[in-house]
């Protein structure tokens, strides 16, 4: 059975890998987009905090015997609180300076955090077992679908959908969108915007940690896992349109798929396809696919 010139199982297999990568891209770029929208900084610490999310899950299990399901909730909370502390005590004091300082500060933080974990855990990585309920898989006839991989896609779609709902359909989300446009005026209505900024950073970072926990059983829990993925995620945020929630989610999944499909037809290009797309998008639509032109 051939599909566009390749055996269908090969195509479907790469499509699945693409979807899974896309799931991580989507959750990570969504967090970045949230943070960029309200804080106007590119959060270079995002990859490091994704890695911390995975490590927190690993440590919860290794040290306290707390398993995957509680970790899926606990790790984002722990990392989210850590992120709120970063915002409150490091980013807020420099919020009035050029945004470049925020970028440099988060970049420095990323190096610090990664260095710290490398010092303790080395670069070989720790393994994290797939939880019992998600082991095994389904035989779809044309391919084998591991249960855990299906779960990753479902979980990412649900979390992205819930975040989109929060931002686009609730009072709180409307306040956040308004604060992105004109923080001063929202403050003059009596909204504690600095608190809203802290919570937003915490939420963005918690999403990164959630992705980290999802990743732990698939990839090895490794201090460098964040820096490996984050450059691609930055490209995706740019393609989707800086600060666009819908753009971040959709381009995350789409580019994951594009990567997978490229791997079928021209494997050599699979590592650069996202950057090629980014270049083309920047030429044709500089504000990104879903960005608002100023």
């Amino acid at each position: 059975m051939d599909f566009l010139g390749v055996p269908f199982p090969v195509f479907a297999g790469q499509l699945l890998i693409g979807l899974i990568n896309g799931a991580f891209y989507a959750v990570l770029s969504l967090g970045l987009a949230l943070i960029f929208g309200l804080l106007n900084i590119v959060n270079f610490a995002h990859g490091a905090l994704y890695m911390v999310g995975a490590f927190v899950a690993f440590l919860l299990l290794d040290v306290l015997g707390i398993g995957y399901w509680p970790a899926l909730v606990l790790s984002p909370i722990i990392v989210g609180v850590f992120g709120m502390a970063i915002e409150r005590f490091l980013l807020r004091p420099i919020a009035d300076l050029d945004h470049l300082y925020g970028l440099l500060l988060t970049f420095g933080l990323a190096l610090l955090i990664e260095g710290l974990f490398r010092q303790v855990y080395g670069v070989s990585g720790e393994t994290y077992a797939i939880p019992a309920a998600l082991q095994g898989g389904f035989n779809l006839g044309f391919m084998f679908l591991p249960t855990y991989r299906a779960w990753v896609i479902v979980a990412a779609v649900v979390v992205c959908g819930a975040t989109w709902f929060l931002i686009e359909q609730t009072r709180l989300g409307a306040t956040m969108r308004a604060a992105v446009e004109n923080a001063d005026l929202v403050r003059a209505f009596g909204v504690n915007v600095p608190l809203l900024v802290t919570l937003t950073y915490g939420l963005g970072v918690a999403l990164a940690a959630f992705a980290g926990v999802l990743a732990a059983p698939i990839y090895s829990v490794n201090p460098l896992m964040g820096s490996n993925i984050i450059i691609v995620v930055f490209a995706i945020v740019v393609i989707g349109g800086l600060g666009s929630i819908k753009g971040a989610i959709l381009s995350g999944f789409l580019l994951g798929i594009a990567e997978g499909v490229t791997r079928v037809y021209y494997p050599e290009a699979s590592n650069i396809i996202i950057f090629v797309v980014m270049a083309v998008v920047l030429i044709v639509r500089p504000a990104g696919l879903f960005g608002k032109t100023a």
Binding site: R171, A174, T175, R177, A178, V180, E181, N182, D184, L185, V186, R187, A188, F189, G190, V191, N192, V193
Partner: protein, 234 residues
């Protein structure tokens, strides 16, 4: 004279290095419409923004029913019961009309219900799902005023609500402002349009070079028309 609800004393403000307000002082009695008149660049808008806490560097005193506001952040000032409608109207383009209307949080009991707001501004009810900035200028101005009536704030700071609007809309806004006064709101109005201010205002202050230089009550306006016209350069 009744105790003023808002007392501004020696208010100074800076934008970066530029010293804009050099000691603005005036009082707003309860339930009245008080206007700040003056030429472009005299410091009227800056006065409102400073009262609201939106100008970072400011000093002097702003007291709202005895409470000193000068050192508070904007959100705390708003929660003391003051609502602000900026000159540029500040309608959010990423929010639809209804979301814009519901954005300012309730800060005290006694604000208008949504139904009551729609009664005053029927046009807004029919436009609920439109993007806020797709409205006409007059509709945007009405939305900007409407959304601060729900919050329970009793003092409204309105910055040039008639700017750039057609005469018939200016008239409608005038009617609405007068009705708000009847409902017990205290209004501090910045206005370039003296004819509008004269009709609606109870008490007028003239701002020049970042200071209040003169004061006229409604009854004194007719006898001082020449003087006022000179102040405003019209």
């Amino acid at each position: 004279m009744t105790e003023p609800v808002l007392t501004v004393e020696g208010l100074e403000a800076w934008y970066g290095e530029s010293h804009i307000l050099h000691g603005v002082s005036f009082e707003v009695p309860p339930g009245q419409i008080v206007t700040l008149l003056g030429r472009n660049g005299a410091g009227k808008t800056t006065t409102l923004r400073s009262i609201m806490g939106l100008v970072k560097k400011r000093k002097g005193s702003v007291r709202h029913q005895g409470e000193e506001l000068i050192a508070l952040p904007a959100n705390r000032i708003a929660r003391s019961g003051i609502a602000y409608c900026p000159e540029e109207r500040g309608i959010f383009s990423s929010l639809n009309v209804k979301e814009n209307l519901q954005l300012p949080p309730t800060i005290a009991d006694g604000g208008m219900s949504l139904d009551r707001v729609y009664e005053l501004f029927p046009i807004l009810k029919t436009r609920g799902a439109s993007q806020g900035t797709k409205l006409s200028g007059g509709e945007q101005q009405m939305l900007a005023i409407a959304r601060i009536l729900r919050t329970g704030a009793r003092i409204l700071l309105l910055d040039e609500p008639t700017e750039g609007l057609a005469p018939v809309i200016v008239q409608q806004i005038g009617t609405i402002i007068t009705r708000l006064k009847e409902e017990g709101f205290t209004i501090l109005l910045v206005e370039q349009n003296f004819r509008f201010a004269e009709k609606t205002g109870d008490l007028h202050y003239v701002v020049e070079h970042g200071e209040v230089v003169d004061r006229f009550e409604r009854a004194q306006v007719a006898g001082n028309r020449d003087k006022i016209t000179r102040y405003l350069g019209v």
